[in-house]
Symmetry: C2
Subunit: 175 residues, 2 copies
Protein backbone atom coordinates (compact mmCIF):
# COMPACT_ATOMS: atom_id res chain seq x y z
CA UNK A 1 0.00 0.00 0.00
CA UNK A 2 1.60 3.30 -1.04
CA UNK A 3 0.71 6.53 0.66
CA UNK A 4 1.52 10.06 -0.30
CA UNK A 5 3.64 12.31 1.85
CA UNK A 6 0.71 14.00 3.53
CA UNK A 7 -0.96 10.74 4.47
CA UNK A 8 2.37 9.41 5.65
CA UNK A 9 2.88 12.43 7.84
CA UNK A 10 -0.45 11.72 9.50
CA UNK A 11 0.53 8.13 10.10
CA UNK A 12 3.78 9.35 11.60
CA UNK A 13 1.99 11.72 13.94
CA UNK A 14 -0.57 9.11 14.97
CA UNK A 15 2.18 6.64 15.58
CA UNK A 16 3.92 9.03 17.91
CA UNK A 17 0.91 10.07 19.88
CA UNK A 18 -1.71 7.35 19.77
CA UNK A 19 -5.32 7.89 18.70
CA UNK A 20 -6.35 11.34 17.57
CA UNK A 21 -9.20 12.98 15.67
CA UNK A 22 -8.80 14.66 12.32
CA UNK A 23 -9.07 18.03 13.92
CA UNK A 24 -6.35 17.32 16.43
CA UNK A 25 -4.12 15.86 13.75
CA UNK A 26 -4.52 18.90 11.54
CA UNK A 27 -3.56 21.06 14.45
CA UNK A 28 -0.54 19.01 15.38
CA UNK A 29 0.61 18.83 11.78
CA UNK A 30 0.52 22.59 11.63
CA UNK A 31 2.42 23.00 14.87
CA UNK A 32 4.98 20.28 14.43
CA UNK A 33 5.50 20.20 10.67
CA UNK A 34 4.02 23.45 9.44
CA UNK A 35 7.36 25.13 8.88
CA UNK A 36 8.22 22.78 6.05
CA UNK A 37 5.04 20.90 5.21
CA UNK A 38 1.62 22.44 4.83
CA UNK A 39 -1.46 20.35 5.56
CA UNK A 40 -5.01 21.64 5.61
CA UNK A 41 -7.87 20.22 7.58
CA UNK A 42 -9.69 19.05 4.51
CA UNK A 43 -6.69 17.12 3.37
CA UNK A 44 -6.49 15.44 6.73
CA UNK A 45 -10.08 14.24 6.57
CA UNK A 46 -9.72 13.07 3.01
CA UNK A 47 -6.55 11.12 3.72
CA UNK A 48 -7.92 9.63 6.92
CA UNK A 49 -11.06 8.45 5.14
CA UNK A 50 -9.00 6.98 2.32
CA UNK A 51 -6.61 5.30 4.72
CA UNK A 52 -9.47 3.91 6.75
CA UNK A 53 -10.96 2.43 3.59
CA UNK A 54 -7.56 0.93 2.80
CA UNK A 55 -7.16 -0.46 6.30
CA UNK A 56 -4.16 1.68 7.24
CA UNK A 57 -5.94 3.36 10.11
CA UNK A 58 -8.97 2.40 12.11
CA UNK A 59 -11.66 4.79 13.27
CA UNK A 60 -12.80 4.47 16.86
CA UNK A 61 -16.25 5.22 18.26
CA UNK A 62 -17.62 8.60 17.30
CA UNK A 63 -17.82 10.92 20.28
CA UNK A 64 -19.30 14.37 20.60
CA UNK A 65 -19.70 16.31 17.36
CA UNK A 66 -19.11 13.13 15.46
CA UNK A 67 -15.44 13.17 16.42
CA UNK A 68 -13.76 9.91 15.47
CA UNK A 69 -10.37 9.09 16.91
CA UNK A 70 -8.13 7.20 14.49
CA UNK A 71 -5.50 4.62 15.29
CA UNK A 72 -2.73 3.25 13.08
CA UNK A 73 -3.08 -0.41 12.14
CA UNK A 74 -0.22 -2.78 11.43
CA UNK A 75 -0.78 -2.26 7.72
CA UNK A 76 -0.59 1.46 8.38
CA UNK A 77 2.67 1.09 10.22
CA UNK A 78 4.24 -0.78 7.38
CA UNK A 79 2.92 1.69 4.83
CA UNK A 80 4.48 4.42 6.89
CA UNK A 81 7.81 2.66 7.05
CA UNK A 82 7.74 1.99 3.33
CA UNK A 83 7.13 5.65 2.64
CA UNK A 84 9.82 6.70 5.05
CA UNK A 85 12.38 4.62 3.20
CA UNK A 86 11.20 5.38 -0.33
CA UNK A 87 13.03 7.63 -2.77
CA UNK A 88 12.70 11.37 -2.52
CA UNK A 89 11.82 12.67 -5.95
CA UNK A 90 13.35 15.81 -7.35
CA UNK A 91 11.79 18.62 -5.42
CA UNK A 92 9.32 20.98 -6.95
CA UNK A 93 10.39 24.57 -6.60
CA UNK A 94 7.79 27.33 -6.74
CA UNK A 95 8.82 30.78 -5.70
CA UNK A 96 6.11 33.31 -6.44
CA UNK A 97 8.39 36.28 -5.93
CA UNK A 98 10.78 35.06 -8.59
CA UNK A 99 7.93 34.56 -11.00
CA UNK A 100 7.03 38.18 -10.51
CA UNK A 101 10.57 39.24 -11.09
CA UNK A 102 10.58 37.31 -14.33
CA UNK A 103 8.16 39.94 -15.62
CA UNK A 104 9.61 42.90 -13.83
CA UNK A 105 9.81 44.90 -17.04
CA UNK A 106 6.03 45.33 -16.91
CA UNK A 107 5.89 46.06 -13.19
CA UNK A 108 5.57 49.52 -11.75
CA UNK A 109 8.77 50.37 -9.84
CA UNK A 110 6.94 51.66 -6.79
CA UNK A 111 4.83 48.56 -6.57
CA UNK A 112 7.92 46.43 -7.03
CA UNK A 113 9.58 48.15 -4.10
CA UNK A 114 6.50 47.49 -1.98
CA UNK A 115 6.30 43.85 -2.88
CA UNK A 116 9.97 43.35 -2.20
CA UNK A 117 9.76 45.13 1.12
CA UNK A 118 6.81 43.01 2.21
CA UNK A 119 8.51 39.81 1.27
CA UNK A 120 11.72 40.81 2.93
CA UNK A 121 9.88 41.63 6.13
CA UNK A 122 8.15 38.28 6.04
CA UNK A 123 11.44 36.44 5.75
CA UNK A 124 13.06 38.57 8.41
CA UNK A 125 10.22 37.77 10.78
CA UNK A 126 10.54 34.09 10.13
CA UNK A 127 14.26 34.18 10.67
CA UNK A 128 13.82 35.98 13.95
CA UNK A 129 11.25 33.44 15.09
CA UNK A 130 13.53 30.57 14.15
CA UNK A 131 16.48 32.08 15.93
CA UNK A 132 14.41 32.50 19.06
CA UNK A 133 13.34 28.90 18.84
CA UNK A 134 16.91 27.80 18.42
CA UNK A 135 18.04 29.64 21.50
CA UNK A 136 15.09 28.35 23.49
CA UNK A 137 15.51 24.85 22.13
CA UNK A 138 19.13 24.66 23.13
CA UNK A 139 18.37 25.69 26.68
CA UNK A 140 15.38 23.43 27.03
CA UNK A 141 16.85 20.51 25.12
CA UNK A 142 14.73 20.02 21.99
CA UNK A 143 15.44 16.88 20.00
CA UNK A 144 18.19 16.78 17.40
CA UNK A 145 15.46 16.14 14.91
CA UNK A 146 13.84 19.48 15.58
CA UNK A 147 17.13 21.31 15.67
CA UNK A 148 18.10 20.01 12.27
CA UNK A 149 14.97 21.24 10.54
CA UNK A 150 15.22 24.51 12.41
CA UNK A 151 18.74 25.01 11.19
CA UNK A 152 17.61 24.43 7.66
CA UNK A 153 15.10 27.19 8.11
CA UNK A 154 17.68 29.50 9.54
CA UNK A 155 20.17 28.83 6.77
CA UNK A 156 17.48 29.35 4.18
CA UNK A 157 16.13 32.56 5.61
CA UNK A 158 19.58 34.03 6.05
CA UNK A 159 20.45 33.26 2.46
CA UNK A 160 17.25 34.84 1.25
CA UNK A 161 17.81 37.96 3.30
CA UNK A 162 21.34 38.30 1.97
CA UNK A 163 19.95 38.00 -1.52
CA UNK A 164 17.38 40.70 -0.76
CA UNK A 165 20.08 43.00 0.47
CA UNK A 166 22.03 42.57 -2.73
CA UNK A 167 19.00 43.35 -4.91
CA UNK A 168 19.40 46.44 -7.04
CA UNK A 169 15.87 47.56 -7.74
CA UNK A 170 17.10 50.48 -9.79
CA UNK A 171 18.93 48.22 -12.18
CA UNK A 172 15.94 45.91 -12.39
CA UNK A 173 13.38 48.51 -13.34
CA UNK A 174 15.41 51.28 -14.85
CA UNK A 175 17.41 49.07 -17.13
Amino acid sequence: MEVNATAAALLGLLRRSGPATGYALAQRAQEELGDYWTVTRSQVYRELAAMAAAGLVQAGEAGARDARPYTVTDAGLSAFTAWLHSDLGADVVRIPLLLRLAFVDALDPTRLAELVAEQRAQHAARLAAYEDLERAGIEVGGTDRDLVTLRFGIAYERAVLTWFDGLDLQALTGG
Copy 2:
Protein backbone atom coordinates in the same frame (compact mmCIF):
# COMPACT_ATOMS: atom_id res chain seq x y z
CA MET B 1 -10.79 39.01 -14.39
CA GLU B 2 -8.38 37.31 -11.97
CA VAL B 3 -5.92 34.73 -13.12
CA ASN B 4 -3.76 32.40 -11.15
CA ALA B 5 0.01 32.55 -11.24
CA THR B 6 0.35 29.83 -13.84
CA ALA B 7 -2.12 31.41 -16.22
CA ALA B 8 -0.47 34.76 -15.66
CA ALA B 9 2.91 33.32 -16.49
CA LEU B 10 1.50 32.14 -19.81
CA LEU B 11 0.11 35.56 -20.54
CA GLY B 12 3.48 37.03 -19.72
CA LEU B 13 5.26 34.68 -22.07
CA LEU B 14 2.76 35.24 -24.86
CA ARG B 15 3.05 38.94 -24.39
CA ARG B 16 6.78 38.77 -24.81
CA SER B 17 6.84 36.57 -27.83
CA GLY B 18 3.62 36.94 -29.76
CA PRO B 19 1.38 34.01 -30.75
CA ALA B 20 2.38 30.54 -29.65
CA THR B 21 0.83 27.09 -29.31
CA GLY B 22 0.30 25.34 -26.02
CA TYR B 23 3.14 23.03 -26.73
CA ALA B 24 5.55 25.85 -27.43
CA LEU B 25 4.41 27.71 -24.34
CA ALA B 26 4.92 24.72 -22.13
CA GLN B 27 8.39 24.38 -23.48
CA ARG B 28 9.27 28.01 -23.04
CA ALA B 29 7.83 28.03 -19.54
CA GLN B 30 10.08 25.15 -18.66
CA GLU B 31 13.15 26.78 -20.15
CA GLU B 32 12.59 30.31 -18.98
CA LEU B 33 10.80 29.85 -15.68
CA GLY B 34 11.38 26.22 -14.79
CA ASP B 35 13.99 26.94 -12.14
CA TYR B 36 11.43 28.59 -9.90
CA TRP B 37 8.03 27.80 -11.35
CA THR B 38 6.90 24.41 -12.60
CA VAL B 39 4.27 24.20 -15.29
CA THR B 40 3.14 21.01 -17.01
CA ARG B 41 1.73 20.72 -20.47
CA SER B 42 -1.67 19.73 -19.23
CA GLN B 43 -1.87 22.81 -17.10
CA VAL B 44 -0.99 24.95 -20.07
CA TYR B 45 -3.81 23.55 -22.17
CA ARG B 46 -6.31 23.82 -19.39
CA GLU B 47 -5.40 27.42 -18.62
CA LEU B 48 -5.35 28.40 -22.27
CA ALA B 49 -8.79 26.91 -22.79
CA ALA B 50 -10.12 28.67 -19.70
CA MET B 51 -8.55 31.96 -20.70
CA ALA B 52 -9.91 31.66 -24.21
CA ALA B 53 -13.38 31.12 -22.77
CA ALA B 54 -12.89 34.18 -20.61
CA GLY B 55 -11.63 36.26 -23.52
CA LEU B 56 -8.12 36.77 -22.18
CA VAL B 57 -6.49 35.04 -25.11
CA GLN B 58 -7.67 34.29 -28.58
CA ALA B 59 -7.02 31.08 -30.48
CA GLY B 60 -5.91 31.41 -34.08
CA GLU B 61 -6.57 29.01 -36.93
CA ALA B 62 -5.69 25.42 -36.18
CA GLY B 63 -2.72 24.24 -38.20
CA ALA B 64 -1.17 20.84 -38.53
CA ARG B 65 -1.93 18.41 -35.71
CA ASP B 66 -4.66 20.70 -34.53
CA ALA B 67 -2.08 23.20 -33.31
CA ARG B 68 -3.74 26.46 -32.33
CA PRO B 69 -1.61 29.55 -31.80
CA TYR B 70 -2.88 31.80 -29.03
CA THR B 71 -2.64 35.56 -28.79
CA VAL B 72 -3.18 37.82 -25.79
CA THR B 73 -6.19 40.11 -26.00
CA ASP B 74 -6.49 43.51 -24.37
CA ALA B 75 -8.49 41.95 -21.58
CA GLY B 76 -5.67 39.44 -21.21
CA LEU B 77 -3.10 42.17 -20.98
CA SER B 78 -4.97 43.91 -18.23
CA ALA B 79 -5.51 40.66 -16.35
CA PHE B 80 -1.80 40.08 -16.59
CA THR B 81 -0.99 43.52 -15.29
CA ALA B 82 -3.46 43.15 -12.45
CA TRP B 83 -1.86 39.88 -11.42
CA LEU B 84 1.61 41.33 -11.68
CA HIS B 85 0.71 44.08 -9.26
CA SER B 86 -1.37 41.98 -6.88
CA ASP B 87 -0.25 40.91 -3.41
CA LEU B 88 2.06 37.98 -3.00
CA GLY B 89 0.53 35.72 -0.41
CA ALA B 90 2.61 34.00 2.23
CA ASP B 91 4.52 31.35 0.42
CA VAL B 92 3.79 27.70 0.82
CA VAL B 93 6.84 25.79 1.91
CA ARG B 94 7.07 22.07 1.24
CA ILE B 95 10.40 20.40 1.70
CA PRO B 96 10.10 16.64 1.41
CA LEU B 97 13.52 16.00 2.89
CA LEU B 98 12.64 17.85 6.07
CA LEU B 99 9.43 15.88 6.38
CA ARG B 100 11.49 12.71 6.30
CA LEU B 101 13.80 14.06 8.92
CA ALA B 102 10.81 14.80 11.12
CA PHE B 103 10.43 11.03 11.45
CA VAL B 104 14.08 10.13 11.44
CA ASP B 105 13.71 8.08 14.61
CA ALA B 106 11.95 5.41 12.54
CA LEU B 107 14.36 5.57 9.63
CA ASP B 108 17.15 3.12 9.05
CA PRO B 109 20.51 4.93 9.42
CA THR B 110 21.95 3.47 6.25
CA ARG B 111 18.95 4.49 4.23
CA LEU B 112 19.07 7.92 5.80
CA ALA B 113 22.67 8.32 4.71
CA GLU B 114 21.70 7.33 1.17
CA LEU B 115 18.81 9.71 0.98
CA VAL B 116 20.89 12.55 2.30
CA ALA B 117 23.71 11.82 -0.11
CA GLU B 118 21.33 11.78 -3.07
CA GLN B 119 19.75 15.03 -2.11
CA ARG B 120 23.06 16.67 -1.49
CA ALA B 121 24.29 15.60 -4.91
CA GLN B 122 21.18 17.01 -6.51
CA HIS B 123 21.69 20.37 -4.91
CA ALA B 124 25.38 20.39 -5.70
CA ALA B 125 24.59 19.72 -9.34
CA ARG B 126 22.10 22.52 -9.47
CA LEU B 127 24.51 24.92 -7.85
CA ALA B 128 27.18 24.03 -10.36
CA ALA B 129 24.77 24.55 -13.23
CA TYR B 130 23.72 27.93 -11.88
CA GLU B 131 27.28 29.05 -11.37
CA ASP B 132 28.09 28.13 -14.94
CA LEU B 133 25.10 30.09 -16.14
CA GLU B 134 26.14 33.07 -14.10
CA ARG B 135 29.61 33.09 -15.59
CA ALA B 136 28.25 32.65 -19.09
CA GLY B 137 25.53 35.21 -18.52
CA ILE B 138 27.95 37.86 -17.40
CA GLU B 139 30.09 37.40 -20.47
CA VAL B 140 27.19 37.29 -22.86
CA GLY B 141 25.15 39.98 -21.17
CA GLY B 142 21.96 38.32 -19.89
CA THR B 143 19.29 40.63 -18.56
CA ASP B 144 19.35 41.87 -14.99
CA ARG B 145 16.08 40.06 -14.58
CA ASP B 146 17.65 36.71 -15.30
CA LEU B 147 20.69 37.43 -13.19
CA VAL B 148 18.56 38.26 -10.19
CA THR B 149 16.67 35.00 -10.22
CA LEU B 150 19.88 33.14 -10.89
CA ARG B 151 21.49 34.69 -7.87
CA PHE B 152 18.58 33.63 -5.75
CA GLY B 153 19.18 30.09 -6.87
CA ILE B 154 22.84 30.32 -6.13
CA ALA B 155 22.29 31.77 -2.68
CA TYR B 156 19.72 29.12 -1.94
CA GLU B 157 21.77 26.19 -3.11
CA ARG B 158 24.84 27.37 -1.27
CA ALA B 159 22.89 27.70 1.95
CA VAL B 160 21.45 24.25 1.54
CA LEU B 161 24.85 22.72 0.87
CA THR B 162 26.29 24.39 3.94
CA TRP B 163 23.43 22.99 5.94
CA PHE B 164 24.12 19.52 4.54
CA ASP B 165 27.74 19.79 5.51
CA GLY B 166 26.80 20.66 9.05
CA LEU B 167 24.43 17.68 9.36
CA ASP B 168 25.43 15.18 12.00
CA LEU B 169 23.80 11.95 10.91
CA GLN B 170 25.21 10.11 13.89
CA ALA B 171 23.49 12.44 16.33
CA LEU B 172 20.27 12.21 14.34
CA THR B 173 19.97 8.46 14.33
CA GLY B 174 22.03 7.34 17.27
CA GLY B 175 20.47 9.74 19.72
